[in-house]
C-alpha cells in the first residue's frame, strides 16, 4: 500500500514537477522581452510578423527599433560595448567583425553552429561567417547586384535584349539616351553613381572594376593585403565612367539617378540589388523591365558583388538563450520566404523553394538563382574596409567630370594616387603586405 501510494505519489510528484517546470518555463518565457534593432526599415513588417508568431509559440515578447542604416550602426557602436544594446540586431559584416574582434559577439552555440553548417546556406555564406575557425552570427540577407533594363525603351531603340558585355552596354546606352531640343539630357542610357558621398560610390565603381579584372585589395596569402587597381583594369574602369559622362554622354550627374530614375522611367539601365523590385512593385507596377547578369568585360566572365547582412546576438544580452532561439526562428525556411516577399531583399538561405515567388515575379530569378557561370566576389570582412571604400569614393565624383581625365596620363596618375591611399589605410591598420 505504502509502496503503491509511494509510486502514485512519486508519479504525481513527477507530473506536478513537470507541469510546474513547463509552467515555470512558460512564465519565464512570457517574462522575457527581446529587443531587436534593425538598420533596414523595410524589414520592420517582417520582424513584426515573425515576432508575433514567436510570441504566440513561446510567449516571449519582441520589441523592434528601426532607424536608418548609418544611425543604426552608430547606435550599435555606442550601445553594445556599454551593455545597453539590443538582444538581437542585424548589421553588415564590416561592423560585425569589429564586434567579434572586441569579444562583443560570441562564437555561435552548438545549435546555431549546426544550423549554419547543416547545408541550409551556400559554402561562401558559411565561410563569410567563420572567423578563426568558429562561426559567429547567421547570414540573413544575400545581396548581389544585377542589371535592370527597361524592355519598352529597348524595343523603341530597336535593341533585342540586354547587353552581355560592358562594351555592348555602352553601345546600347548611346541609342537609349534622350536629349531635349536644347541638348539637355532628359533620359540617361545607363544610371551610374556619379555624385554624393560615402562608400556606395566606390562600391558601384567595383561593379565595373571587378569584371574588368581588377579589385580594390588583394590578399597576399599571409593575412595581409595591398591595393589591386593601379593597373590596366583600374584605368579601364575609370575610363568607362569618364567616357559614359564626357565622351559618349550616356549619363550626366545632373539627371535623376539610381532606383528612383529607373522606377520613374528616367534611365534605361541600372545595376542594383533585388530591393529595387519592391520599389517598382510599389511605385510603378506597370513598368515593363527585365533583370540580367552584370555584363562581362569583353570575353571575361560575368562577375557580381556578394554582400551578406548578418543576424547577430549581442554577447552582452541578458537573455542569451532566448536571443539565440529567436535568431534560429528568424532563419527558418518559412521566415526566409516571408522576408523576401515582404521586403524585396533576398534571404540568405539557399535551400528555399523560390518557385512560388518566381511564378509571381520572374525578375527575382537573377537574384535568387543567378545565371550559371556568374562569379561572386565577396566583400572583404575587415574593419578598415569602410574607410578604404569611402576614401576612394571621396575622389571619384570629381574624376568622372574632370576633362583632364580624358588624358590617359592624368587618368593613370589619378588611379596611382588613389591606390597609394588604399595602401596607406592598410598600413595604418597593420594590414598591409606586398
Amino acid at each position: 500500500m505504502n509502496h503503491s501510494i509511494g509510486r502514485r505519489g512519486a508519479l504525481q510528484l513527477a507530473a506536478g514537477a513537470g507541469i510546474a517546470t513547463l509552467g515555470g518555463r512558460k512564465a519565464k518565457a512570457a517574462d522575457v522581452t527581446l529587443s531587436i534593432w534593425t538598420g533596414y526599415p523595410e524589414l520592420v513588417k517582417w520582424y513584426e510578423a515573425v515576432g508575433a508568431e514567436y510570441t504566440k509559440a513561446k510567449g516571449t515578447k519582441i520589441t523592434i527599433l528601426s532607424t536608418s542604416l548609418r544611425e543604426h550602426e552608430q547606435k550599435l557602436a555606442a550601445a553594445v560595448p556599454t551593455g545597453t544594446g539590443p538582444d538581437v540586431f542585424d548589421v553588415g559584416q564590416i561592423l560585425g567583425i569589429t564586434f567579434i574582434e572586441a569579444g562583443l559577439i560570441k562564437a555561435n552555440p552548438a545549435a546555431v553552429d549546426a544550423h549554419l553548417k547543416g547545408g541550409a546556406y551556400r559554402k561562401s555564406s558559411v565561410e563569410q561567417f567563420t572567423t578563426e575557425g568558429k562561426t559567429h552570427g547567421l547570414p540573413m540577407l544575400f545581396s548581389t547586384p544585377a542589371m535592370f533594363w527597361n524592355r519598352t525603351m529597348f524595343k523603341e531603340a530597336g535593341l533585342d535584349g540586354p547587353p552581355k558585355t560592358f562594351q555592348e552596354k555602352m553601345a546600347a546606352a548611346k541609342k537609349l539616351t534622350k536629349f531635349d531640343a536644347t541638348g539637355k539630357m532628359i533620359r540617361s542610357g545607363m544610371s551610374l553613381r556619379l555624385s554624393g558621398q560615402g562608400s556606395g560610390i566606390a562600391e558601384k565603381f567595383r561593379f565595373i572594376l571587378e569584371p574588368a579584372g581588377g579589385t580594390l585589395i588583394v590578399p597576399n596569402g599571409k593575412g595581409k593585403f595591398h591595393q589591386g587597381y593601379d593597373n590596366e583594369a583600374g584605368r579601364n574602369a575609370l575610363k568607362y565612367y569618364v567616357d559614359a559622362v564626357q565622351t559618349d554622354k550616356v549619363d550626366d550627374p545632373k539627371v535623376q539617378h539610381d532606383a528612383a530614375a529607373f522606377v520613374a522611367g528616367n534611365t534605361a539601365m541600372l545595376m542594383r540589388e533585388a530591393w529595387v523590385i519592391g520599389e517598382i512593385k510599389e511605385k510603378n507596377p506597370t513598368l515593363d523591365y527585365g533583370v540580367a547578369p552584370i555584363p562581362a568585360w569583353g570575353s571575361g566572365p560575368h562577375k557580381t558583388l556578394l554582400q551578406h547582412n548578418g543576424l547577430w546576438v549581442n554577447g552582452k544580452s541578458k537573455n542569451l538563450d532566448a536571443a539565440y532561439d529567436f535568431q534560429l526562428f528568424l532563419s527558418t525556411k518559412e521566415a526566409s520566404v516571408k522576408l523576401t516577399q515582404m521586403s524585396g531583399w533576398v534571404a540568405a538561405r539557399s535551400d528555399v523553394d523560390w518557385s512560388p515567388l518566381l511564378k509571381d515575379i520572374p525578375q527575382y530569378k537573377e537574384f535568387v538563382a543567378p545565371t550559371q557561370g556568374v562569379q561572386f566576389y565577396p566583400e572583404p570582412v575587415m574593419a578598415a574596409w569602410n574607410e578604404i571604400e569611402t576614401r576612394l569614393a571621396d575622389r571619384l565624383p570629381n574624376a568622372y567630370i574632370d576633362p583632364g581625365m580624358l588624358d590617359p596620363a592624368k587618368l593613370a596618375a589619378f588611379i596611382k594616387a588613389a591606390a597609394a591611399q588604399t595602401d596607406q589605410i592598410l598600413k595604418q591598420n597593420d594590414l598591409y603586405g606586398a
Partner: protein
C-alpha cells in the same frame, strides 16, 4: 552672496557634467587610438595631430569651412543690419515681415535642408524654374562642385538672417530717441544719424552677432549631411566641412581618437576667432572712451 554661489552650484555642476567633462575627455582621447568598440585603447601621443597635418580631407574641410563661415557671417550680417534699420521704422507691415524673416530660424534644419535640396534640383527645382522664366540657363546648384559650396552659403544666410535681424532690431529700438532727435535738429541726414549714432551704439550687438554666427557657421553639419545624401546630391568633397569630417572619422570609420584631435583643433580655431573678435571690440571701445 554665499547663497547666490550655493544656488548656482547645481547648474554649474550640470554644465560641468554635460559640457566641460566631455570636452576634457575629447582632449584626452585625441592622444589615443580607439575604435569606440574595442576595449584596447593604445596611447599614441601626438600622432593623431601629426597625421591631421597631412590629411588632405582635413585640409580641404578646413578650407571649405573657413570659406563657408566667413561668407555666411559676412553676408548674413551685412544684409540683416539694413533690413533691421528698415523694419525698425513704424509701419503696419513691419511685424509681418519680421515674422516672415524669422520663420527659417525656428524651422528645424533637417526639413529645411531637404526642402532646399528640392529647390536646388537641376531638373525640377523651383530656383531653376525661376531662372528659366527670365531666359537664364539652369544651374547645377548641387552637382557642380564649383557651385555646391555657394549653394550651402545661400541656404546658411537664409537660415540665420532673421535671427541677426531681430538682434539688430532690439539694439536699434534701445537707442534713446533723444540722441536721434537731437541729431535731426542739428541737421543730420538719415545716413549721418545711422553712421554716427546708431552704428556705434550697435557695436556690442554687432560683436555678439558676429561671434555667435561664426561659432555656428564653423559647426555647420546637418545641411552638409542632408545635401550629400543619396545619388542626386552634392559631391562630398565639394562641401566637406570640419564637423562632417569629424563625424565621418568618428562614426563611420570609428577612429575616435583621430576625430577627437580634429574636434580639439576646431575648438581652438573657434576659441581663437572669438578672442580676436573680443579684443578688437575692446580696442574699439577703448578708443571710443
Amino acid at each position: 552672496m554665499l547663497f547666490c554661489y550655493v544656488a548656482l552650484l547645481p547648474i554649474v555642476a550640470l554644465f560641468f557634467y554635460v559640457r566641460i567633462i566631455p570636452i576634457g575627455f575629447s582632449f584626452l582621447l585625441s592622444f589615443y587610438k580607439w575604435n569606440l568598440i574595442s576595449p584596447r585603447r593604445p596611447f599614441v601621443g601626438w600622432d593623431n595631430y601629426l597625421e591631421l597635418l597631412e590629411d588632405e580631407n582635413f585640409i580641404l574641410a578646413l578650407k571649405n569651412t573657413t570659406l563657408y563661415s566667413f561668407s555666411t557671417v559676412l553676408l548674413a550680417t551685412a544684409i540683416a543690419l539694413p533690413l533691421a534699420v528698415f523694419l525698425s521704422r513704424k509701419s503696419r507691415l513691419s511685424p509681418f515681415y519680421q515674422t516672415i524673416y524669422f520663420l527659417p530660424v525656428i524651422t528645424p534644419m533637417v526639413p529645411v535642408a531637404i526642402a532646399w535640396k528640392w529647390i536646388y534640383d537641376y531638373n525640377y527645382g523651383i530656383l531653376n524654374y525661376g531662372l528659366s522664366l527670365v531666359g537664364l540657363p539652369s544651374v547645377a546648384w548641387l552637382t557642380d562642385p564649383s557651385i555646391a559650396l555657394w549653394a550651402l552659403v545661400i541656404m546658411g544666410v537664409w537660415k540665420v538672417l532673421g535671427y541677426n535681424m531681430v538682434l539688430f532690431l532690439v539694439g536699434i529700438r534701445n537707442i534713446p530717441a533723444e540722441y536721434l532727435e537731437a541729431a535731426s535738429i542739428d541737421g543730420a541726414t538719415d545716413w549721418q544719424r545711422f553712421w554716427r549714432i546708431s552704428f556705434p551704439l550697435l557695436r556690442p550687438i554687432l560683436l555678439y552677432v558676429i561671434v555667435t554666427s561664426t561659432i555656428n557657421a564653423f559647426n555647420v553639419f546637418t545641411q552638409v549631411y542632408v545635401m550629400t545624401l543619396g545619388s542626386q546630391s552634392a559631391p562630398g568633397q565639394a562641401v566637406r566641412m570640419l564637423v562632417f569630417d569629424i563625424y565621418t572619422n568618428g562614426f563611420q570609420f570609428f577612429r575616435m581618437g583621430y576625430a577627437s584631435a580634429e574636434a580639439v583643433i576646431l575648438t581652438l580655431i573657434v576659441l581663437g576667432l572669438t578672442v580676436i573678435q573680443f579684443s578688437l571690440a575692446r580696442d574699439d571701445s577703448a578708443k571710443g572712451t
